[in-house]
């Protein structure tokens, strides 16, 4: 059966060139990067090279990169790391309502311990407004955390403007206010520069940019201090203990170098495919709703709600026809509530449940888009004909006795 992978926001395939870069470090170059001897130094040099490549991707200095296990750990280190040290100056954090569950989880845990969290609304467009950040600032605010681009709807937040606001506050004498941005979804899909953004901390993950799973990094601006969360070792300048995952770090470096070189090409490819997909979809399927600003979003992602049907049903039917996507429906995630991100846009429960995220990659082809456009309309129509909501809304008779849901 033909398989089409349209879930690049969840994870991406490892690029062949990345795999080749990693292999020696899984075979003959196995040294511990902290060992003094030749084997160690060889590994150390590879880690340093990767560090420079990752730093270059975001316009940072090599020494500002802390390697760790992924985006979730980076978000944990950023928020907890600042919270622990800054607590004497204040215990208020400003976060967007659509942060990744890892950031959200850490903030909620702090809330239980007496911290105050202000959740910034994102309105129908899925974008925070800088005026809301300004209005939420208090003397005891120590951290603002707003993701650069959201993983479900792809909307790009005004982080640079928030960075400018933080700079203004510092010029006015405020000393303990930091800006963190989760760039996990954005990296490799838009230009990212820490000087432009004005952020103090930035989270990254390798497996979202054709690198291996199990490695990521936190950018920590020179001069910013954090309380390390993994302790008992000197690695990463004592910011994150544990033997360096050399092969994974090398993979991350290789992926970062490729992402930087190929950024423009990839962005153009992605936008073209995505726009073709959306145009083709709206021409063939009625009663669909786009989630999140279509003007200010990453080029690779389309989040669409299909009225009258539920997301997991559509997802599984697509899966049975070889197409892989993801959904905001609760059934699929195991929680009782539909996607909080889609709900934060003001969408009804029903539209949130009927949402599907299609996310494209550099490997996605026009042919694959054609295939999906061929099967999707019939799959949606078949599910609608099964739905009492559709019947109610359209008064249409769902006549067939043995309705076949798979497109023929």
């Amino acid at each position: 059966m033909r398989r089409v992978y349209l879930d690049h926001s969840a994870t991406t395939p490892v690029d062949r060139r990345v795999l080749e870069a990693m292999l020696p470090f899984l075979t003959e170059k196995f040294g511990n990067a902290s060992s003094v001897h030749f084997f160690g130094q060889e590994a150390r040099a590879a880690v340093d090279r990767a560090r420079r490549d990752v730093a270059a991707l975001i316009g940072a200095r090599a020494g500002e990169i802390v390697f760790l296990s992924g985006g979730t750990e980076a978000n944990n280190l950023a928020v907890r790391g600042i919270a622990e040290l800054a607590a004497p100056s204040g215990r208020h954090i400003i976060a967007s309502a659509i942060e990744h569950p890892s950031t959200r989880g850490v903030c909620e845990a702090l809330e239980k311990r007496g911290w105050e969290i202000t959740w910034l609304p994102v309105y129908e467009e899925g974008l925070v407004r800088v005026e809301d950040v300004r209005a939420a600032l208090r003397p005891h605010t120590v951290l603002i955390t707003v993701m650069l681009a959201n993983n479900e709807i792809g909307t790009i937040q005004p982080v640079a403007e928030i960075g400018a606001l933080v700079r203004e506050e510092r010029e006015r004498g405020r000393r303990h206010l930091f800006l963190h941005t989760d760039a996990v979804q954005a990296l490799g899909r838009m230009p990212v520069d820490v000087e432009v953004l004005g952020c103090d901390l930035l989270s990254m993950s390798a497996h979202k940019l054709n690198g291996p799973k199990g490695v990521g990094a936190l950018y920590v601006r020179r001069g910013v201090h954090l309380a390390p969360q993994n302790i008992g070792g000197h690695q990463e300048r004592q910011r994150r203990a544990g033997t360096e995952a050399v092969p994974l770090i090398v993979g991350f470096g290789a992926a970062a170098a490729l992402a930087r070189q190929e950024l423009n090409e990839r962005m153009q490819h992605l936008a073209r495919l995505r726009d073709r997909f959306e145009a083709g979809l709206t021409a063939r399927i009625e009663e669909v709703v786009f989630n999140g600003s279509r003007a200010s979003r990453l080029p690779h992602l389309s989040n669409i709600s299909f009225r009258y049907i539920e997301g997991e049903g559509l997802l599984i039917n697509l899966d049975m026809q070889g197409v892989a996507v993801s959904t905001g429906s609760a059934c699929s995630s195991g929680s009782l509530e539909a996607s909080p991100v889609i709900r934060a846009l003001g969408r009804s429960d029903e539209l949130a449940r009927g949402s599907i995220r299609f996310s494209f990659g550099k490997e996605t082809t026009d042919d694959e888009i054609d295939y999906v456009l061929e099967i999707l309309p019939r799959t949606v129509e078949n599910l609608r004909r099964l739905s009492p909501l559709y019947l109610e809304a359209t008064g249409r008779r769902a006549g067939e006795r043995d309705g076949t849901v798979l497109a023929r």
Partner: protein
């Protein structure tokens, strides 16, 4: 997705989906927790369920339970149909994870609502 072959078959080819023009009773129930909805249309004659059709909105187990249920009850008397349990539906499907079993509960509730009518 670890659904059984039977489950996937019902999902790909739902039995008795649609409406019944000469239905003698129609019942529709909603699960308040997640919003799943099932609609059953039956034609009952001489106490026997001659024909049954369903419409469903919700996660795959909801659709599949509707399909399985209508297949089961066709030809049954009201009393026989009334004795079908949640577990019977779940077993026919090849099992369901605990958190999805509400779909079978909804099917039974909708069936009882239909049988109690008239």
């Amino acid at each position: 997705m670890s659904y059984s072959e039977t489950f996937k078959d019902h999902l790909a080819h739902p039995r008795n989906a649609g409406e019944l023009p000469e239905a003698t009773v129609i019942a529709e129930q909603t699960n308040p927790v997640c919003g799943d909805r099932l609609r059953l249309s039956l034609r009952i004659h001489d106490d026997r369920i001659e024909e049954a059709r369903f419409l469903a909105y919700g996660c795959p187990p909801t659709l599949v339970c509707g399909s399985v249920l209508t297949e089961m009850i066709q030809g049954m008397t009201r009393e026989e149909a009334g004795r079908i349990t949640r577990q019977k539906i779940i077993d026919t499907l090849g099992g369901l994870p605990t958190r999805k079993q509400h779909a079978a509960a909804l099917a039974i509730e909708t069936l009882h609502a239909a049988l109690e009518d008239k």
